[in-house]
């Protein structure tokens, strides 16, 4: 069985969904169900124990077959991300934490230095650490070395819909990585998710593209199928690209075989 392995957890779905930016909790839950996802991320910022109507965690925790991965979006430093991870684990009981440290609240680019520091500590504490990172092959290996469960390089800026603008760097990360590589952020359409999977990503995380679609549930389903197709293609062996035609009968057959 082909499954996504993260620590001791295995998932048959390779689509991870973000839960922010939806027009309503109901719309978000419909997208989660329709996607068949088994792993969703929810920001500690959006846990609201005082007001059920405003809370994302409660309704998600009631869906069967879903593992929750709290994220630290809002943290600007390693120290804040570590505190947020501890609070999130306390509230959710999940061993997963998606480490998101973006000190600039406008472009939301992840801070590689603070992220590394936080991951080192959280991994040593036993969390299944899933860091959101720039598409930097060296940082990816450093995070593998400190015990992260995966790396989650960005395809492009959060909410930009610019797709796999970091493709060249992603392919190096994928080639070198000993832990699952999950593209997170920037994907606009199912074809881009499919392309990421064909490149050899183990999973993709999508939020904005589903949340702001006219029909989020339908879009979530489309992403699920695209991810599956990309995965199957990657395992089946994609024909290499070539700039020239390749003759079916070898042009050099008259030379005989090499001795």
């Amino acid at each position: 069985m082909d499954s996504l392995q993260l620590g001791s957890y295995s998932f048959s779905s390779r689509l991870i969904l973000g839960t922010g930016k939806f027009s309503s909790t109901r719309s978000m839950l419909e997208a989660v169900r329709s996607s068949g996802t088994q792993l969703v991320t929810v920001a500690l910022r959006r846990f609201n124990r005082n007001q059920a109507e405003d809370d994302l965690f409660g309704p998600l925790s009631e869906i069967g077959g879903i593992t929750l991965m709290p994220n630290t979006s809002g943290a600007a430093t390693a120290k804040e991300a570590i505190l947020a991870a501890h609070i999130s684990r306390e509230l959710s009981g999940s061993p997963f934490v998606k480490v998101e440290i973006h000190p600039n609240p406008h472009h939301l680019m992840p801070d590689p230095i603070e992220t590394y520091e936080a991951c080192k500590i959280l991994a040593a504490e036993g969390f299944l650490v899933m860091p959101y990172i720039p598409a930097d092959p060296v940082l990816a290996k450093r995070l593998e070395d400190v015990g992260c469960a995966s790396v989650m390089p960005l395809g492009s800026a959060i909410g930009s819909g610019q797709g796999l603008s970091t493709a060249a760097m992603l392919s190096i990360i994928i080639r070198e990585s000993g832990i699952p590589v999950i593209v997170d952020a920037g994907l606009r359409s199912p074809s881009e998710a499919c392309a990421a999977m064909e490149m050899g990503c183990e999973a993709v995380l999508v939020n904005s593209a589903v949340a702001v679609a006219r029909d989020p549930a339908a879009m979530a389903g489309a992403f699920a199928r695209a991810v599956e197709a990309g995965r199957q293609a990657s395992r089946a062996g994609i024909m290499p690209k070539s700039g020239t035609a390749v003759a079916t009968s070898p042009l050099t057959s008259f030379l005989g075989t090499a001795p």
Partner: protein, 357 residues
């Protein structure tokens, strides 16, 4: 003659806004609206973050000709004591509010820094996010506020035109144009994470105000790269004192200004308060605007109905309940979000102290 900082006159910082706000672009309003909506949707999704103001005190030491709290106004003076504050905040919390903006007038002995700092401490125990709109402070004072749990400050320059500013502020500490102009920077140096800026529209020629405001935002973003900057668009409202704006701003211009800011600054929070009418607020939600106030009381003690009638800073235009306003957002397929922050991220954010050892 005061010496203005270089950014204030650097037109390269506002060239895009200048094009968008040119008079001949008035016919492009619908196109601007569509673009602003698309950008907002992509970057912020289908949510509107909500906050509510709490007026702590209407004591004031300044003479701003346009303000209902100015120190020569006949309106009775009041401030909340610490018990009342806690009760007001608890009443706000019962309405679902999780993000409170604490307001005072200019610094007075009745409501000075120590009073404000204690208020922040009380609020931070009840609200996940606490911000302050009060008087200009020193870097050390801002650091102390951040330590007490203050995440953001709002400070409007009111008018970016030094000559108008002089005529509008007749006495008191607020007469110092430059001290006010530099306040956002002192707050950020003190570790306050986010700063809301704006011009009080109606006081000065509005296109000029919009351009300098844009330069201010870009100067702050470039100099303080971790700072969250938000932009508000307050417009003069009827108030005790009866000031009539010299440069009235109509709905069409205000809308265009908001669209222009969204197009030029795709990832900055744009804020609209209950100063504006229900129709305008509902229309603008999601068309650039990402953050809105709700259920606002602009009187001291307003949430428990112990207010003294008339003693408000300005008249609220959108007086719908939190529930009614949220339903209006939902009808537009926008989710009202009350809690969009966590106390885990409170505390000062100082450039040199960020790496966890």
């Amino acid at each position: 003659m005061i010496s203005l900082p270089a950014w204030m006159t650097d037109r390269s910082l506002s060239a895009d806004l200048e094009t968008l706000l040119a008079p001949e672009q008035d016919g492009s309003l619908e196109r601007f609206a569509a673009e602003a909506q698309a950008i907002t949707l992509r970057r912020f999704g289908r949510i509107i973050s909500l906050y509510a103001p709490l007026y702590l005190s209407n004591f004031c030491s300044s003479g701003c000709v346009y303000c209902g709290f100015a120190s020569d106004r006949k309106a009775p003076r009041r401030k909340l004591d610490y018990d009342e504050m806690e009760k007001e905040l608890t009443a706000m919390k019962a309405l679902g509010i999780s993000d409170a903006l604490l307001l005072t007038g200019e610094r007075t002995s009745a409501a000075g820094f120590d009073y404000l700092r204690r208020a922040v401490g009380i609020a931070a125990k009840i609200m996940p996010r606490v911000a302050v709109e009060a008087f200009p402070m020193t870097v050390a004072e801002y650091r102390a506020l951040a330590d007490s749990g203050c995440t953001g400050i709002t400070i409007y320059q009111e008018s970016y035109n030094p000559e108008d500013y002089r005529k509008l502020h007749l006495w008191g500490p607020k007469q110092d144009f430059l001290e006010r102009l530099e306040t956002p920077e002192r707050a950020l140096q003190g570790g306050i994470r986010s700063v809301g800026v704006g011009a009080l529209l109606g006081l000065s020629e509005p296109v000029g105000e919009a351009l300098v405001l844009a330069r201010h935002v870009r100067h702050l973003c470039r100099t303080y790269w971790k700072a969250g900057i938000s932009v508000s668009f307050p417009r003069i409202r009827p108030q005790e004192g009866g000031y009539m704006p010299a440069y009235p701003v109509d709905d069409r211009f205000l809308a265009r200004m908001i669209f222009a800011f969204r197009i030029a600054m795709p990832d900055v929070d744009l804020v609209l308060s209950t100063r504006e009418s229900p129709g305008f607020r509902d229309g603008m939600a999601g068309l650039g605007i990402t953050r809105m106030s709700i259920a606002s009381r602009t009187t001291v003690g307003g949430y428990l109905d112990t207010e003294t009638p008339g003693a408000s800073q300005f008249e609220v235009s959108d007086d719908r309940s939190a529930e009614a306003f949220c339903n209006a957002l939902r009808a537009k397929e926008l989710e009202p979000v009350f809690k969009n922050w966590d106390p885990a991220y409170n505390g000062p954010l100082i450039n040199e102290e960020t790496i966890c050892r």
